[in-house]
Symmetry: C2
Subunit: 315 residues, 2 copies
């Protein structure tokens, strides 16, 4: 409803009766551009992603089919991440030149945010994937976030070109070769560079990226908990705590993942956004606004154009 | 000098004249148990770790030789990490049953600290290494840090047994098999669990571990910088900031890597500690005290006993 009030037309996919009942609780919902689309089945959080193959009536499959048919501009899900990825890949297919789609997300960083991918779609990767993702993320930042010529860092364990795993050293060579041709390659970056914002984009495999994402979010929570604890530790700090509360609240909001709404599955032929299962209304609204921006910027067509001419590893 | 005042006998390895000149600046140093050992050469931070093979007079080689000969209980270096590892491996050799030594470090966490390894010795690993490291870290925590039956988590991208990269899934099987036999295996843990302290030990490859370490340290710095910024943003928060300064200082100290002094290279036949190049006096003192504790606990002999009967992958 928040997004619809902002002008985004929403197709709400799920059990029609329950969704209408829910909408009915909110005054004014009938006047908003919200349409309910029936989906009798849902893939639960504890079920298998591969179920999307057989359960055509599952809400996520209905969602991605709407995108495939052109009835929806984007699929946005806060449900089963694996099922969302599988359904998007199955229904929408891959962009030519992309071996594997990757999940791209944003982390708060000095000077704004750092764009990180892959944060979990591919635990095992090839060097060529990383080079393709650098291209995809560059187009994404340029057309959706208005960043001109964004810099790309390759996550490694030393800044020198030869540092890192065998995979990373190989990817470094590919990215070096791509520099100036759709990728503004900065070189290797380290864990500390992610929140420093050394580069606009950080490319890594989906295992490391997922660990980074969960560590970064988890650490922010733990540290703010400790700050709160410290502020309550003495009478003096309690009084001071009351005075600084407003200033710290702005900071907490900045660190809140829901600011960025959802991650995008980059590399499929259709817009697909994947959010946290714990997403709140603000996160859902921001995800829908971001989806609309990506659609208006013709992101998928721009990605296809940028990757045309690339030879994927596997066909 | 701080450690020597605490009763640790120190062999200071380096250019004799310069070291004596430095000691001479500090009143009372002559009465402390500090002996200077000549080493004319030093492997600089921008030189190659492999130089330890040819440059026998390099300070790190003199250091590890002192350990090998039994003249020193431990080697402690805040210099070139790669050279320290290479020199220790070359001079001291591996513990039987250990394929590759790993670097173990501690990160502040809820309830104390989390022990993480490998944080950078091995960018490319085999599953068997992770299982060996779990054993080594268990012995370390038990004998040096007095933790009874410490729990071991395997870093992955989902808590379920089958989640993760092919390597992690294989390691999971090995750790599951080792459970109850020298390893108290908790199962998979995620990035967010590291600072939550879900397990005492987190085992991972040296690539992921190094990214985690540098991200965790970097994020703490960035977040505290933002807190400081927020406290200085308005007159009200400035006044409050003065009142909470003391409380936050304790927290900053807790997050300071120098609290833990240095990391230990686990798996070589002799105590070897590797610190930050940017280590301060407190870090060096704490590293020396930790080295003494490990020596008194007969760590290397305990590790050898625990790994006896293990068949390494490579010989």
């Amino acid at each position: 409803m928040q997004a619809a009030r902002g002008g985004v037309g929403v197709l709400l996919v799920g059990p029609r009766v329950a969704l209408h009942a829910e909408l009915g609780k909110h005054a004014g919902s009938a006047a908003l551009p919200i349409e309910v689309v029936e989906a009798a089945d849902v893939i639960g959080m504890d079920e298998h992603a591969s179920d999307v193959r057989s359960r055509k009536e599952a809400s996520i499959n209905v969602c991605t089919a709407l995108v495939k048919e052109g009835r929806a501009a984007a699929a946005v899900s806060m449900g089963h991440s694996g099922a969302t990825m599988a359904s998007a890949l199955l229904t929408l297919g891959r962009i030519k030149g992309v071996d594997r789609p990757a999940i791209l997300t944003h982390l708060p960083a000095q000077g704004g945010f750092t764009t990180l991918l892959d944060v979990g779609a591919n635990a095992d990767v090839k060097a060529a994937y990383l080079a393709q993702w650098a291209r995809l993320a560059t187009v994404y930042l340029r057309v959706v976030e208005d960043r001109e010529n964004p810099t790309v860092g390759l996550l490694s364990i030393g800044e020198e070109d030869h540092k890192g795993s065998a995979l990373v050293v190989e990817a470094h060579g590919l990215l070096r070769a791509a520099h100036g041709q759709g990728v503004n390659f900065h070189g290797n970056v380290e864990g500390r560079d992610i929140l420093r914002g050394t580069t606009d984009i950080v490319v890594t495999d989906g295992f490391t990226g997922n660990v980074v994402l969960k560590l970064a979010e988890g650490e922010a929570k733990v540290l703010f908990g400790w700050v709160r604890e410290a502020l309550g530790s003495t009478l003096k700090s309690k009084v001071g705590g009351l005075l600084v509360r407003g200033a710290l609240r702005g900071l907490a909001e900045r660190m809140d993942p829901s600011t960025y709404g959802a991650s995008i599955l980059l590399g499929v032929r259709g817009l697909t956004f994947i959010g946290h299962g714990s997403a709140d209304a603000r996160a859902v609204k921001n995800a829908l606004l971001r989806a609309e921006r990506a659609h208006e910027a013709q992101l998928v067509a721009r990605l296809e154009a940028a990757l045309a001419g690339e030879t994927p590893q596997s066909v």
